[in-house]
Subunit: 339 residues, 2 copies
Amino acid sequence: MANIRDVAQLAGVSLGTVSNAINRPELLASSTLQRIQKVIEELEFVPNASARNLRSRRNRVIGLVLPDVSNPFYTDLAKGVNDAAYASEYVVILCNTDGSAQKEVQYLDVLARQNVEGILITPVSESNLTLANVAERGIRLALVDRFPLGLQACSVAVNDVYGGSLALTHLHDLGHRKILVIMGKADFPQVVDRITGIKQAIESIVDADAPEFIKIHLDSMSVKNAYEVIRDMNSPFDFTGVICGNDLIAIGVIRALGEKNISIPEDVSVIGYDDIDFATSATVPITSISQPSYELGFTAAELLISEGESPEKHVHQRIEFQPKLVIRSSTAEAKSHRP
Amino acid sequence: MANIRDVAQLAGVSLGTVSNAINRPELLASSTLQRIQKVIEELEFVPNASARNLRSRRNRVIGLVLPDVSNPFYTDLAKGVNDAAYASEYVVILCNTDGSAQKEVQYLDVLARQNVEGILITPVSESNLTLANVAERGIRLALVDRFPLGLQACSVAVNDVYGGSLALTHLHDLGHRKILVIMGKADFPQVVDRITGIKQAIESIVDADAPEFIKIHLDSMSVKNAYEVIRDMNSPFDFTGVICGNDLIAIGVIRALGEKNISIPEDVSVIGYDDIDFATSATVPITSISQPSYELGFTAAELLISEGESPEKHVHQRIEFQPKLVIRSSTAEAKSHRP
DNA sequence: CTGAAAGCGCTTACAG
DNA sequence: CTGAAAGCGCTTACAG
């Protein structure tokens, strides 16, 4: 494959000039520039990214570290990141931690070795030790779907506390007083926030009969895991409302309840989270808390990339999106409230 | 950050020896090795990937080029690729072409610039021009979910012809004689093969009343696109069976038919493709043709990586998985066949 | 506006 | 078993 030296020779200029033609074309006389560009095309010259990176310390690569790409919420988020990266001619390395802190550490290390220009991450837990470590190494960091705790970094997230309260309030308005909350791991930041939101909403209800709730924490926020846990519950199911950590869990819950001959929403109302595309097409179309997943990823990537393009000008930003309640058929008025 | 020279100095050896300690530890006296390893830890030395790649022409990066990561089939496939890569300490750059040949070319170029060690691709069309171009540049290539046409490369795919015939045969067995086939773009290789399978199955039916079928080609194999097309059909819907290009299309079709008060499977049987997780949880659980998406990705990545590890020993392989029919509730006997 | 030179951090024969 | 040296392909001040 042709290298920059071949191009220089054929164009009759020095190799530094070719480099300038590529990176700072405004410095060249237009005749020289044209000549060089012609040769570049002829030779199908493609600059070697490693060499370039080695000198300039830039490689147009960012890392994206996510708990679970199979989850449509993260898939959409990743798509947003990819599109933003593509627009700026960046490329993204996708890392799937499966929600494991250990894998997260390992991937962070791999990304550091690759000299990525920045890392976009939805951290597995609140603990910032690993992240601080990355920041120390001088790798730019931005948080997606999470705000930083004592860490200098851009962040783009959704107000999960508000999302939790939105869900609770909706069920309460419908007259539900006994609620099951079924979430992911207890130390998952989003889970913590949403439960806080639920509690806050309950506290703000002056009503004598504020709802009670019970929590279940799933190891994995998947259809399967949720389905199995509800299927295997041996105590009688005496809740009239269920708040799920995401729509996948809602699907699993709905399926398990269906098998127990509990109808949705006649007997029990179920509310999901994320409002994935599929929520509309599920057995029972799912009432859900909608988050702008694609925008989350897109915005975060833009922020990270723009920080890299002009570090001096950059000021860390914290962008917060608001979740929205989308009502479908999986929630309805509690029996006790019906005529 | 520490570099290899710092390590050499502190360990009192030459820098070549440090390099050997990292890459060919078996060459060193164990005492020297230990001393160096200790210093590496102390200094938290991480080798610079760019420098390494520049010299050794290896960077442990592979590219994955896919038409649509939001499609669960490809999401799972991508996960398989990621897991295989992770196991071999490789990293993957994810590229989403949105089914556009132009984006495919651009991404291929970007990947070439990044000097990836290999590219895993589900090409947008049969045409191999761009791929041949990549191969010429000396980048290893492997095809996923597609077999190569006149191209030296490993490939892992599913027998789509058989998949198509499986779908047709199932509907025929149930007594359906007027079938709508609703697929993606006509030049999409998988589409071509499945239609071939459908035709072959029809031809093999000696039966006097072999089924007739009509084709629709969608621009995008999405829920939305399928839904809109069926919703806007103004001719009367006189089919009793529908074969869909994937489960997403099936979901869209089922929704649109529902709005026209056509019940599934009482009036019309609908069969999907891919058997995504969600197929079970759809409004009507979808009968589908199952493909091992995760394994597809995992196997292809392994092949590509092993080719890189020992090019001399490598022999190109072509691995074919067989699709399976998974019967759920969206297909049933045609009315004409019922008592 | 262009060219010559140094150097980014490593790997890899080669000599000893 | 270890060290010295060349060089991968670029970018970047600097001189002119």
